[in-house]
Amino acid sequence: MADINNADGGDEGAAEPLTPEVVEYEPVTGVPPEFCEYLPKDDFLKALPWLAENRSLEWMQANCKKYKNFDKIFESQDTLEEKLKDLSVSTSAREPEPKLLPGGKKKKKQKLEILIERSVRNKRKCITSVTGLDVFGIKLAEAAKLMGKKFASGCSVVKHPTGVSMIETQGDNQYEIAELIMKKYKDKDIKEEHFFSVVKQKKSPLF
């Protein structure tokens, strides 16, 4: 293809795909290093150790103008390194902050428990719903498919308006589900004491 194009147009440059330019990103914050100074101060401090290592002094002086006290730090190289050490120590020593959801809400620490509830649908038919699998890092859609296959029944992921999503299966199979989960997700470290069965909104250990 390329040969034909060249013969036709004679313009080699235009026929070649553009070569993508490689932009270096600062690994911690993920933005091009030159924009680090404009990030919130916390992020900038996190980026600093990398910048100090990978960029020259002149570059730092040119690109960190926003922080006035840096002039003092830049006076001699020794102090710079020391200061940076201090900075990096102070940032790494700080406790990890609670993860913020995009809306600015604090993420609740979720309890490691799996709730299994049986609700009667129609006298002798019932639905078993499982809540809390996502906390263990199990993909709900996958697990639902697995259960559907295992019990040869309908099985779906239901999202509650409160934000909790659960898996609902047809039929009464509380214990089977628990066993299946433990067997299939051995690597997630799920034990018997994580399971609770819910009857009339009261929680009791399943095993």
Partner: protein, 184 residues
């Protein structure tokens, strides 16, 4: 537009599109950014054989993803925009506008770009563009683009009026879309 974007909350559905639709998207993008079509660069971005997935998000945003990586996005009444990662790779694809240093801070937090930020001594307008054109926003003394905008006036108007919002910031460094490099 993407300030509060997050994978879990903002994306309402993913759908793989038909090849015919995919062709349409490609054609649209090529028509808008002819430079991508010339050397077949578009084939590198959206290979014909790869499945294209469209993520529909709140605010009528559609994001075109290939291999789960967001590449282009549009709303109902705007053309396609590339993500900043794409723009960094192919900086030639869009007209450029450059803002002065004072504006960087605000642009990075997602503010729209006011005319004075584009007309002051530190700023330049590299290309003449019309109203409602996607543009890349660069900054004084900085090499790379920091945002992608949609002009709300032509460059000439920006110069003469010199007041109010000149370019709407659509996508900027460190916003939700930038951080979500992977949509599944």
């Amino acid at each position: 537009m993407f300030r509060k974007f997050s994978k879990q909350e903002s994306v309402s559905s993913f759908a793989q599109v038909k090849t015919s639709v995919q062709r349409g998207i490609r054609a649209n993008i090529c028509a808008q950014y002819p430079i991508l079509e010339e050397g077949g660069t578009i084939d590198l971005l959206i290979p014909k054989k790869e499945n294209v997935v469209i993520a529909k998000c709140e605010g009528k945003i559609e994001i075109v993803c290939v291999n789960n990586v967001p590449l282009f996005y549009k709303t109902r009444d705007t053309p396609y925009f590339p993500t900043l990662k794409i723009l960094h790779k192919y900086p030639q694809m869009m007209p450029k506008l450059r803002v002065d240093t004072g504006a960087i801070k605000f642009v990075l937090s997602g503010a729209n770009i006011m005319c004075p930020g584009l007309t002051s001594p530190g700023a330049t307008m590299h290309d003449e563009v019309d109203k409602e054109t996607p543009v890349a926003i660069y900054a004084e003394n900085k090499e790379h683009a920091l945002a992608i905008g949609y002009t709300s006036m032509s460059t000439e108007e920006i110069r003469t009026v010199n007041q109010g919002v000149g370019v709407e910031t659509i996508h900027c460094l460190n916003d939700g879309l930038w951080k979500n490099n992977h949509l599944e």
